[in-house]
Symmetry: C2
Subunit: 408 residues, 2 copies
C-alpha cells in the first residue's frame, strides 16, 4: 500500500480520488495499491467522503514520511511549482496534470526528481487520458520521431465540429460551449490556441530532449474562422481542425499551431467533438495514431493515477521522460514548406491568371453560399514567402494551411 496526497481538490483532484476509489481492487491486484492519506485544499469539504482527509497546510504532507507520491492537480505555476519542488527534493514522486508548470519548469523538476531518485510524471498534461507521453517515451523507443500532428484541445475541437456540422457561427457556438461547460468563462487559452501550443511544446521537448518554449512557436487561434471557411472545406472534401504540429529535422524543430484543412481521409479526423488525436510519424513504423478524451475529470484523473501507480511500483527509481534545461534548436518557421488555401475576393475566372502568377501552379475552388469570392489551393511553398505574397495581394479574405491530397 502506497500512501499518497492530492494537491488541489478541484475537478481533476476529485477525479483522482474517484478513480482510486472506484478501481481500488483492480489497482491493488496490479500490485500497487494506493491510499489517499491527505488532500490539500484551502477549502473544507464537509460531507465529502474524503472530507476528513483535507488539510490546509502543505508541511503536514511534506513532513509525513509515509507519503511516497503526490498528485499535483492544483494548476498554476506558483504554489504548485514550490510544492512540487519541495516534494521532489525530499524524494517524493510527483504526478501532475499541470501543463503550464510542465512546459515552464518540467526540465528542472525532472532533474530534481532524478537527483533525488524519484519521478516527475506528467502523462495527464497532454492529451488527457490518452497514454501519449508513455507511448513517446516507452513505446516508440526504437523509433526516430519525425513529425507530430495533433488535435490537442477538446474545447476548440468541439467548436470546430459544431461549425462544420451545423454551419454555425463561431460566436454562437462558443456561447453554447460555455453554457454547457465545454468552454471556460475566459476561453482565451483555448480559442487563441495557447493550450495546444503548450502541449506541443511539451511533446517537442520530449522528442528533442531539450526545452522548446511555447512562446517561440507560431500560434494562431480559431477566432477568425467564418462560416465561409467551412463552406470551402466542404467543397474540398476536407475539415478544418486546430492542429498543433512539430517536425523534427537536422535544421531544428519546426513547430506551428493553427487551424488547418485536413483531407477527408486523414486519420486525425476520427477526432470529432471533444476528442483529441495525435498522429506520430516515425522512421520505421510510419504513421501511428492515438485517440481519446483529451480532457475531462475522469480521463485526466486516470492518467494522473496511472502515473501514481508507476511511481509507486518503482520506488527509488526515476521513471518517465524528461528534457534538459538547454533550449532546443528551433527551425525558422518561415522557412517551413507546406501547402495553403487562400480566400480571395472577386471572380475566379477574372483573377485566375493574376493569382496563378503569384502562387504558381494551383487551382481555384468555389463554394456554395459564398458569393463574390473564391478560393485558391496553393501548392507547397515556404511559409515566409506565402505570408509575404498574401500581404502584398489585394482582396485576401483569409487563409488556411492545407496539404492537399496529391491526386488533385
Amino acid at each position: 500500500m502506497t500512501e499518497i496526497a492530492i494537491l488541489g481538490y478541484g475537478t481533476v483532484g476529485s477525479g483522482v480520488a474517484e478513480v482510486i476509489g472506484t478501481n481500488a481492487e483492480l489497482i491493488a491486484a496490479r500490485g500497487c495499491a494506493l491510499h489517499v492519506k491527505y488532500i490539500l485544499d484551502l477549502r473544507d469539504f464537509p460531507g465529502d467522503p474524503y472530507g476528513e482527509r483535507v488539510v490546509h497546510d502543505f508541511t503536514c504532507i511534506l513532513d509525513d514520511p509515509e507519503i511516497k507520491v503526490i498528485c499535483e492537480t492544483m494548476g498554476g505555476v506558483g504554489a504548485a511549482y514550490q510544492f512540487s519542488k519541495q516534494a521532489l527534493e525530499k524524494g517524493i514522486s510527483v504526478c501532475t496534470s499541470n501543463k503550464e508548470l510542465v512546459e515552464l519548469h518540467g526540465a528542472e523538476l525532472s532533474r530534481i526528481a532524478k537527483e533525488n531518485h524519484c519521478s516527475y510524471l506528467f502523462e495527464a498534461s497532454v492529451g488527457g487520458g490518452i497514454p501519449l507521453i508513455r507511448t513517446i517515451c516507452q513505446g516508440l523507443t526504437a523509433e526516430k520521431i519525425e513529425k507530430i500532428y495533433g488535435i490537442l484541445n477538446g474545447t476548440t475541437n468541439y467548436i470546430l465540429t459544431k461549425m462544420d456540422r451545423e454551419g454555425a457561427d463561431f460566436d454562437a457556438v462558443l456561447k453554447e460551449a460555455q453554457a454547457n461547460g465545454y468552454a471556460e468563462k475566459d476561453p482565451t487559452a483555448d480559442i487563441e490556441a495557447h493550450d495546444p501550443c503548450r502541449k506541443i511544446a511539451i511533446l517537442a521537448s520530449l522528442v528533442t530532449g531539450k526545452k522548446v518554449d511555447w512562446k517561440n512557436i507560431r500560434c494562431e487561434g480559431i477566432t477568425k474562422l467564418e462560416k465561409a471557411d467551412f463552406a470551402y472545406a466542404w467543397a474540398l472534401d476536407a475539415q478544418i481542425k486546430l492542429v498543433a504540429m512539430s517536425e523534427f529535422t537536422e535544421k531544428g524543430c519546426y513547430a506551428c499551431v493553427s487551424p488547418r484543412l485536413l483531407p477527408a481521409d486523414s486519420p486525425l479526423l476520427c477526432a470529432q467533438d471533444v476528442f483529441n488525436a495525435v498522429l506520430i510519424h516515425s522512421n520505421m513504423l510510419d504513421d501511428s495514431l492515438y485517440y481519446g478524451r483529451g480532457a475531462g475529470k475522469l480521463a485526466t484523473a486516470s492518467a494522473v493515477v496511472g502515473d501514481a501507480i508507476e511511481a509507486a511500483a518503482n520506488p527509488g527509481r526515476t521513471m518517465g521522460g524528461s528534457w534538459s534545461e538547454e533550449a532546443a534548436l528551433l527551425g525558422d518557421i518561415d522557412e517551413y514548406e507546406q501547402g495553403y488555401f487562400v480566400r480571395l475576393s472577386g471572380a475566379a475566372d477574372a483573377r485566375r491568371e493574376e493569382v496563378q502568377k503569384v502562387f504558381g501552379n494551383g487551382y481555384t475552388v468555389e463554394a456554395k453560399g459564398v458569393p463574390g469570392e473564391f478560393g485558391y489551393v496553393v501548392q507547397k511553398m515556404r511559409e515566409g514567402a506565402f505570408l509575404e505574397k498574401i500581404a502584398a495581394m489585394e482582396g485576401v479574405l483569409g487563409y488556411l494551411r492545407y496539404d492537399a491530397p496529391a491526386e488533385k
Copy 2:
C-alpha cells in the same frame, strides 16, 4: 552495450537488424545501445552486411554469457518454443513477434521469465508496430478495461477496403492482394480470421489475467462476403470490417471475430487499407484508440526492438504483461446481445410483416444494384436467438453483426 541474438533472419528478423542499424545512435542515446552478435538461421547470407554473424547452432548463442536478449522472429511453435524456453531458463530475455507461440505458450513462457528474473515480451505479436500491449499493461493501469474492438489483420482490411471502394469481388481482390504481396499464397489464416482471433485471444488473456484459448472464440472469416453486402453497407452509411471483439463482464469474457458493419462515425474507420486500429473502452477514460501499421517488416521489427530496449534497460527485472495458465472464464457467446443486419430474398413490402414478427422492431433497407432482395436491421438480441431465427427462416442470403446508430 547489450549483446543480442536474432533467431530467424526472415522478413521480421532482418527488419530487426535494420531497425537497430538505422537507429543505432538514437537507441544508444536512450541509454540502451544494442549490438547484434548472432543471427540464427539454417541458411547462409553471403554478402549480407550481417552475413558473418549468422550461426546455425542455437547452443552457441545459449552458451555465450554475453547474450542478454534474444529476438525470436522464427515463427512456429516448435523450435521457437524450445529455444525461447531454454533462453528464459538461463535468464536471457526473449522478445518476439510470434503470435502463435504467445497465444499457445505465453503463460508458461512468462512464468519461466519471472522465475529467472528476465522478461518475455511480445509487443509485436498484436497490432505490429502499434504500442498496444504496452498501452494495456502500462498505460491504462488505472483503468478497468471493459471492451476491445479491433481491426487486427492488415490483409483482410486491405481486401475489405478494396471491395468497399471499388465494388470488387472477393476472389479478384484476394488474387490482386496475393500478387502484390499483401496476402500469403495460403491466405487461410487471414481470410478465415484465425490470425486476428489469436490476437484478440492474446489481448483478452492480458486483460483477464488468465488464458483465453483462441479455439474457444467464435470466429468467422470474410470469404462469404459478396458485392451485395457492400451495397447495403453504402446504403446504411456504414463500412464492413473484420472486427475482433472482446467484452469483459462479471459473467466472463465474451469474444467473437467476424465481419461487422461499422457506422460511418466509428473512429475505427480511420483504419483503411493495411492499417490496424484498436478501440479500447475502459471505465474511467471511456474510448481510446490506437492506430498504425499492424504488419510489415519494419513496423513489426520496431516493436521487437522496442521490447529489446526495455529488456536491456531492465536487467534482472521482469517487464511486460502476462497471464496465468489457468483458463479464463468465457461467457457463452450465444448469450451475448448485439444488433444485426440480415439479407433476405423477396420484396421488402411483401415480407415486412413476417420479418418484423420474427425479429421485432427493426427496419428494412434497400440497396442499389441488388434486385430481388432486401436488408433488415435487427435491434439488439441474443446471438443464439438470432442464429436460431435465421436458421428457421426462408430466403436468408447473409447476415452481419451491426450495432446500428441509436438515432435511426
